[in-house]
């Protein structure tokens, strides 16, 4: 009988120690983030109060802790592309939104990115796109970086496509891109070449205006 009591108390101690360490871990990881006030955000971005309110409500609903980490981001983005694998592209997007490189996207990062994309000038949008493509942020888009991005985009299509996706389709697409963009044929695309070329292409100009009324 006494032995049983000893056993049970030992068990309880073990459990308590284990939960303590789990709780510690939880506290470290449960980051609570509160964004700047509405006024500051209004000043920083080009959204008005109402739009910021709607955006924040949606944001907070999906991420109650106030920040998005990369996995949640990938989950959310993948839900829009059920047929393919959107995680690679989501990774690049995440890096593009996470301007302060702290591994999580807070509401400020989110809304500032959206402000550029939806309310920015064409120059700013193109700048943002360049930033997205330039994975290592060195100011040049190399063929390898572009290939990674292209593969990520094609991954989102999945495998049930018409015509069937070949293995070198992304590569061919990258070749076309470089033919168009790389004016001095030095194998990399700089920001100026990129912006110049896009501004001369009326398809691209038109498509930049496409999402202006999203919010």
């Amino acid at each position: 009988m006494g032995a049983l009591m000893v056993i049970f108390s030992l068990q309880k101690d073990q459990r308590r120690k284990r939960t303590d360490s789990v709780e510690d871990e939880l506290e470290l990881s449960a980051v609570r983030h509160r964004p700047e006030g509405l006024e500051q955000l209004e000043a920083l971005t080009r959204f008005n109060r109402k739009e910021l309110q709607i955006l924040y409500r949606g944001f907070k609903n999906e991420c109650p802790s106030g920040v998005v980490n990369e996995d949640t981001f990938k989950d959310i983005y993948s839900q829009f592309f059920p047929q393919g694998d959107a995680s690679t592209y989501a990774h690049f997007l995440f890096n593009a939104f996470d301007t302060d490189k702290d591994g999580s996207v807070s509401f400020e990062d989110f809304v500032m990115g959206l402000s550029i994309l939806l309310r920015g000038s064409v120059q700013e949008k193109l700048n943002w796109a360049f930033n997205l493509y330039d994975i290592n942020k060195d100011g040049y888009i190399t063929k390898e970086e572009m290939l990674d991005i292209m593969k990520a985009i094609y991954d989102m299509m999945g495998k049930c496509t018409y015509p069937l996706l070949k293995d070198d389709t992304p590569r061919q697409h990258v070749e076309i891109f470089f033919q168009k963009m790389d004016k001095n044929k030095d194998g990399v695309v700089t920001i100026d070449e990129f912006i110049d070329c896009c501004q001369n292409d009326e398809n691209i100009m038109r498509s930049m205006q496409l999402f202006d009324n999203v919010i």
């Binding site: 985009i153 697409h173 398809n203």
Partner: protein, 632 residues
Amino acid sequence: MAAGVAAWLPFARAAAIGWMPVANCPMPIAPRDHRKRHDELIILNVSGRRFQTWRTTLDRYPDTLLGSSEKQFFYDEETKEYFFDRDPDSFRSILNFYRTGKLHYPRYECISAYDEELTFFGIIPEIIGDCCYEEYKDRKRENAERLQDDQDDNKDCKLPNMTYRETMWRAFENPHTSTMALVFYYVTGFFIAISVLTNVIETVPCGATPSQKDMPCGERYTIAFFCMDTACVLIFTVEYLMRLFAAPSRYQFMRSVMSIIDVVAIFPYYIGLVMTDNEDVSGAFVTLRVFRVFRIFKFSRHSQGLRILGYTLKSCASELGFLLFSLTMAIIIFATVMFYAEKGSSSTKFTSIPASFWYTIVTMTTLGYGDMVPKTIAGKIFGSICSLSGVLVIALPVPVIVSNFSRIYHQNQRADKRRAQKVQKARLARIRIAQTGSSCTGFLQSKRNDLLNELLELTGSEEEEQQLNKGMSLLESQHHHLLHCLEKTTAHEFVDEQLYEQNCLETTIQSYTSRSPSFSSQDGPIGTCCTRRGKMNSPLPNSSLPLQPSHQQGSLQELSALHIQCGDKLPHTTSRSSLNMKTDDVGLINCKGSQITTAIISIPTAPSDTTDGGAPSINTTASSNVIKVSAL
């Protein structure tokens, strides 16, 4: 598309700007947002309790009552709110589903009331979150079983067309169905008891007559006991044969546990009859009598609790196994230790390690008979350690077994867990289909509708076009626009599984022919992108093309493609089209200024050379303004 991510759709669309510089084709036009800009609060009055939420919250799930226009039926003009005459407590969970995207099942709620509410509001129960799903399923199963039991009780009246055999089987399985069955049930129970009692009394020493010494009753009244035994075995044999006759599946009956117990109970008697006068096997004969005790297990037909106990032991097999294993380990260790500790002492009972096993077992289970005791000091020390550890080792797995038993006893059916795993897979599949499948097929469906619209535009009938566009919410149309932009960026299109498989087949056919290296693959996405106007994937109104001529050729399946030529490049293709028109019978669909030709791609056999030559080249002409329609 799932819940709260509807709020992230604007973000996904904004991020699509990242594809724009990469795309080579112009993007489709975005759907226009006709509604008012600002979000408004909706008041939902559920039996007097007012709930308020944003309109966009409800719009997240357009295929439910609250998310669709169906709620307009409940709109009250005077109070400007939506009135539902339902339970406000259940409505809380339903509204939370819209807010958080997760449906929870409250424990206090009655399962059928909850189900009714879900059905009323158009929500499928499979969406219940993992946290509450098991509870929901358990309750639902219990309820179903209770209903089933009620039904069975009502159904116990005799069906008109039951054969004699089925009646017997029903009587055996449910003793309450008829009086005869009940009588049979009690009679067999009585005889089992008698038989067991007889076996027991047989060994009791009866009062001795003064002349003889004490004898067990069995030897004194041999005849009487023999008659009793015979009677019992006869009854059991008859019962077994009757059950065997009545069983719907005899093979399964013979494999069941109860029937094995029956057989083991009555066999020793017959074996004993056969070999009574053989001296050598009389020892074995005595052993066989032991099996008569198995008759007591026949009681398990009469007792539900006994069956559950047996079932528990069977399902706790792993815990019992662990108990046995750890005990064995401990026994061997301590027996060895005790043997070597007591080796020195004289006239010790610990003659060998196996002999010490007995001591170890008795000590570890705290029995302590005292027939073997250690005499040396080391032996005593190790003996005490042995008894302490015995308690520990036995106490560890026992609570697990006990809790298992109580759990099984309360739930009564553990085999359902295996069924539940299949249900879990089915449930996940259903959710996946309902969410992703619908968005995918919704997208493909809308594409078909759009392209059908184009065709109808060509034929000049606009009324049907408007009919097709109804019923798609703004959210869905925006999502579809996003997917459309992705298609344009990559110059590939989403297709469903069927078409994908057909295309795979098509490419393998082409590579098999190796007649002409597939030009289409070379042309690939580059050339076809901007020159291809659109693609139709829908079956056209009269797509019942005569396929008979094609069926005569080739053994593998052919694909038939309709080509609609629009406008220019006519001379380019007329030669081929005339080639095709020669070989097959075409049904011409008259569009404004366009022609339709059919081509049949088939496996090369000699006569079909001409069509084959046409096939890959038709794919190359796909690079010109040809819209290809496949009749699925």
